[in-house]
Symmetry: C2
């Protein structure tokens, strides 16, 4: 299964006193299913020249001029991947689209469309769903992506399922398995910002009160709420001849393990080269997820494209299994994350 899961440093839990949904405002129950669908559709980009049959029939029909479809799917759960008191509905809409589109970019592709399936409590304010749709639309807009279909069902907790499509524009896909000893390991985008923002929120800083924090702290909060994947860097890396690529959803080191395993190589990261920012700790940069940076490897003779930064090197597998090291040593700080297994 595509491994583009988001990984909070602190798993989000709803506090015991978390308020129920809207009271005294217009709720989903008030407007009914068809009213809600109409309100959501009015806010989404539903068609483009490749949309042969838009949402509204039994299924949509999309033109696929490249003859190949890049696709991935992800789930976001309230209380697990977002909290409504930490992120606005618009933030959640941005994030739901971004974390999925990032998987397309990580193949060297360009996002073209998404499908959106929502579980929604009947007492959720309609405004939340409208603003969520506006966030999705705003993330789609600069990419020209459309919402090609969806489903909405009543349930207890907001659950968002996004399936994304993209095109390779004639290029071969960039897999995780193509890294070779001697390749440069490079990154595009930010690392650790989202994790730092989540830590601030978990510490009670910045929840709904942007004015109370400033400078980089406000940037970290924003980065957690609305990740900004470097979409264009994916196709650029593909054009430049990247040998392997993925998006950093679970943390740099954890995700590089996938390249190491799939390519049967070792990877060493030079900690001094990894992009950081004032206020970030090294463990946040190396293990924080959800920024959706892209990591790619390039052959030793390949010029590293603009927007990419060299942070390490691919090596032969040593005595042990394929693996990832930092400055030549195993990383012994925090890292890794599992959705199941004994509670983190």
């Amino acid at each position: 299964m595509p491994a583009g899961r988001t990984v909070p440093v602190h798993p989000i839990e709803l506090p015991p006193g978390h308020p129920r949904y809207g009271t005294g405002v217009e709720t989903i129950d008030d407007v009914g299913e068809f009213g809600l669908i109409a309100r959501v559709l009015a806010r989404l980009p539903l068609t483009d020249p490749d949309t042969l049959v838009p949402s509204g029939d039994d299924a949509a029909v999309l033109a696929i001029p490249d003859g190949r479809l890049v696709t991935s799917t992800d789930l976001l759960l309230e209380g697990r991947h977002f909290r409504r008191d930490w992120s606005s509905a618009r933030d959640v809409g941005h994030k739901a689209a971004a974390q999925n589109f990032s998987d397309i970019a990580a193949m060297g592709g360009v996002p073209t469309a998404l499908l959106l399936a929502l579980v929604l409590p009947g007492d959720l304010p309609v405004a939340w769903v409208e603003e969520f749709a506006e966030g999705v639309a705003a993330e789609c807009a600069p990419l020209g992506a459309v919402v090609a279909g969806g489903d909405m069902v009543r349930g207890e907790l907001i659950t968002i399922s996004v399936t994304v499509f993209g095109t390779l524009e004639g290029r071969p896909p960039v897999l995780r398995s193509g890294a070779r000893p001697g390749d440069a390991v490079c990154v595009a985008g930010r690392l650790g910002w989202s994790a730092a923002g989540l830590e601030l929120l978990a510490a009670g800083i910045g929840g709904g009160d942007e004015a109370s924090v400033g400078g980089t702290m406000a940037d970290f909060l924003l980065a957690h709420r609305r990740p900004r994947p470097p979409y264009a860097a994916g196709p650029e890396a593909a054009r430049a001849g990247a040998t392997a690529m993925l998006d950093v959803s679970d943390g740099l080191l954890a995700d590089l393990e996938h390249i190491a395993a799939a390519s049967e190589v070792a990877v060493d990261i030079e900690s001094a080269s990894v992009p950081t920012a004032e206020g970030l700790r090294l463990d946040q940069v190396l293990t924080g997820g959800e920024d959706h940076a892209l990591v790619a490897t390039f052959g030793p003779a390949t010029p590293i494209p603009a927007g990419w930064r060299r942070i390490g090197v691919v090596g032969e597998i040593g005595a042990g299994a394929p693996g990832v090291t930092v400055d030549g040593k195993p990383w012994d700080g925090p890292g890794g994350f599992s959705h199941f297994g004994p509670r983190e």
Copy 2:
């Protein structure tokens, strides 16, 4: 949004004393995320000649030889669309795939692949997920469809999000909007069987005890648990020149309203012509959902293809709005369903 929602005659509710998940058996928490993924993947068809990059990288890459993609998405929630004491995990797997593939057939398409995103409680037995996967695989097998990707996340209640793909094999899609006055209204597949099965289960008959019921009652229970959409009838209708088509997920009359509205026509159903079976009431046949029969309209000069049965006629819009009548009169029995709005 594609309207392929399933519609129980009785909305399913978990009883207050509904048992929690497994105790004393191997649970998801016991095997962890990667263990679970491996166990699920081992049971799914993951690749075919059109699978250029299978599940396992950031995204899958599928060849789309037709140059057009048919796609739709649907959600199933435990307690809303199924109960684990009424349906086996294998039943739920069959149903999750079938209700979505049916939307592809309803466009005249052939299902090719699906993506599967699951919310799973940590204390759910691993065997449930394995058997669910086997049900999905068994529904895919005769179609040659593959599972091209997925996601699994821990949550409180089993939630299944399925996105399906299909191909039109060079044919134009059959929309809801093409019915014309004089067209024959035809059905392929069963009507009312699933609703009858659900009524039996709601009445406490047949829950996990197949031997206690026989004959058509057992068939109705099976029809509810594992709908059998007439997949081949969709492309056959398209080849024969169907003017409009959809799948009956919400009930014959409710779904025909979509054709009537999209085509701006009236539809009259001859109740004596509608296929039924011993033990079915007319209201079950006309308003029961979830069998995923296909309904299509054919021009007056078009021979009705094998496997299709004429049940009514398309007419001009009369004095009122477009609409559906039975034997020339509005249907005044039960029908209709909304996912939101005051609780059904």
